[in-house]
Symmetry: C2
């Protein structure tokens, strides 16, 4: 362990999600639905081919690891840091702040690091927002970001704000570690089991939710999903994206994880391939199961846009994919659900580590695990169902 070398990292998630369809936002829209209009793209348009690298324009920075690890001049310590910034993808500014922070911290968590010494915030307000919108939205984003940082045991001590056509939110997470505090993601062995700590399908859910207001798009998927199911999936995606991977990072130590990464812009296949490439042993990763937010697999198929079942659909602030010794994996999945870690943590065994040439693949017909949104229970219990509709309005 602990071969702390200066290694390139970062930069992949949003490069992979950056896309072509422009939409620069208009100041006149009402606040609720307008927030994610201050973004450049429809996320599903975005995925680069898995494994195609971080960005054609940024060739030298590499995507090998989720964080960079820099040996320091001081007594065996290493500097570990990461940065991420992107554009709004949910309607709720507070949740967007939380998601942005969770997404930055996740790169540390993927290395089994549970502490963060400092967080900087990167922010732009949109020039096309009205003053009123700006004054409502910006403090909420900042509060969400700060609250998530606090949950991560750190604080935001600085940053940078600019004016830009689109809203930007992101951050820089930094920690100085002793060698035993982080797990280099290179030690998978044949026989290990792959565990995933959040369901897939966040981008599908976010897009499907936007399509509720877009009859042309909605018509292509309304045969496979109801409006209510999309709303629930969207809430579930938002909740998952805002959940820190910190508990999983801690349990990586408890259960002797051999390697991990977090699932973001390249989808589960892309990140599995990246992780496989870094292994010291001659191994390959084979994914058998895909835990997916309920109905999102059907939307992916019906729309023909995402590649969710091929593992190439981008995720935002996704779960950790962790290589664990076979005998530890089930215990990991059981332990993470314990109420002592708070609500909402889950994990699934999704694949195995075989002898191979450092690649990753999904089997031909993977088992889709439909992960029921938590809201389903609440909805089933609700007596007043008057606002819910399972039919599209157009």
């Amino acid at each position: 362990m602990a071969e702390a070398s200066a290694t390139g990292a970062g930069g992949e998630a949003m490069a992979a999600m950056a896309a072509t369809e422009g939409s620069s936002g208009s100041a006149g829209l009402p606040l609720g639905r307008s927030f994610s209009n201050y973004q450049p793209f429809e996320p599903q348009e975005a995925g680069l081919p898995a494994g195609s690298g971080p960005s054609p324009t940024f060739p030298a920075l590499g995507i090998g690891m989720d964080s960079c690890v820099i040996p320091l001049r001081h007594g065996g310590l290493s500097l570990v840091q990461t940065t991420d910034f992107f554009y709004p993808l949910v309607e709720d500014p507070y949740m967007m702040g939380r998601i942005a922070c969770a997404n930055v911290l996740s790169d540390l968590y993927a290395m089994g690091i549970t502490e963060c010494d400092n967080m900087l915030m990167l922010l732009s307000v949109s020039q096309s927002m009205s003053d009123e919108e700006r004054e409502k939205v910006t403090p909420l984003m900042i509060k969400g970001f700060r609250d998530a940082a606090e949950e991560g045991g750190t604080a935001v001590t600085g940053g940078q704000t600019v004016v830009n056509p689109w809203i930007i939110i992101g951050g820089v997470a930094t920690v100085v570690c002793q060698p035993n505090e982080f797990i280099m993601p290179d030690s998978a062995v044949v026989g290990d089991v792959l565990v995933l700590t959040k369901p897939l399908g966040t981008q599908v859910a976010v897009n499907a939710h936007q399509w509720l207001d877009n009859p042309e798009r909605w018509n292509k998927v309304k045969m496979v999903v109801s409006r209510e199911e999309v709303e629930l999936a969207y809430q579930e995606a938002m909740f998952n994206m805002a959940t820190l991977n910190r508990t999983a990072a801690g349990l990586m130590h408890t259960f002797n994880a051999h390697a991990a990464t977090d699932i973001t812009g390249f989808g589960i296949l892309g990140h599995s391939q990246n992780l496989a490439k870094q292994q010291r042993n001659e191994v390959s990763f084979v994914i058998h199961n895909l835990p997916i937010i309920a109905k999102m697999a059907a939307i992916s198929k019906a729309s023909g846009r995402f590649g969710l079942l091929q593992g190439t659909s981008a995720e935002t602030s996704g779960g950790l994919l962790i290589c664990l010794p076979r005998e530890q994996a089930a215990r990991f999945c059981s332990e993470i659900k314990s109420s002592k870690y708070g609500e909402g943590h889950q994990a699934w065994i999704v694949g195995i580590v075989e002898k191979g040439n450092r690649t990753a693949r999904i089997i031909d017909k993977p088992r889709v695990i439909e992960v029921l949104p938590r809201g389903v229970m609440a909805t089933a219990l609700a007596t007043d169902n008057s606002n819910a509709s399972s039919e599209p309005s157009s």
Copy 2:
């Protein structure tokens, strides 16, 4: 010294420079002059009133110091880091990369720190650039940034790239320090002398250079400056913005500096006021001399746009303003010009530290020191003057 406390920092420069006049760039322009069109504003429009704070939208992050200082869990060490990102303001992508990196590092240098353990790059390419423009411009920006990082004794190990309407370039500089490696900017005493290590007027020069192609603007200043003088001033500004303040940071230790800051978006007066506020002693700063790139004071007056003589004109990657013991200031200014530190370092005594209530001001009629661009000598020596013109073409 060395009261390493977690202190808010960063975020001021571009907040102060962010502005209203939009210009989203068009892909069809030729490369040379088009690069800085991928920016949102004419910089001179931008200055917030000096001392008005970092940004109305980012109230809690403070602008007290140039970098944040976080005490670590490990043996008396402190984490010092800073981030800055902004939009192109010169025509040369390579120089823009250098300037962006110099600007980030400058926040460390302002604390007397000469080392940087890690640099992350923040970058966006513009969606409105053609593929050809993108492929030419982006590698040059990255190379400029990397070269400046190398000159600063560090390396770029990661970062983030996105697509955005405007080009963005910036970075995150991080260092882990022992207490004697940094100088907290709070120990000015009555009788100290203020020294400045780069001439003022970068924003005026950048804007005046843009006006060469804007007859309406140019007509307002052509009585006080020639086109050739503007070209030389622009080159001088670019050179200064790309120069690291690292030598000055090292000499802060040699000559027992009591406090320092770097001059960026709030101008010399704004940053002097910020620095004065942080002093432990009851002192005030009084600025008597303004070293300004030749002719830029005249342009500022003629255009009525900048407030350069009032100290409120924004600077990019400006010099360090350093409080030195009186008997050390002249030696500092002499030493920094030594050829052992390479070409082009200068420094001027610009003011004094008096007893006062932690404010800063510029005297009524400050002495303007016209700093001659280095190119003047080269031009004077040139025999073929056929391309030079001192008259505007329109």
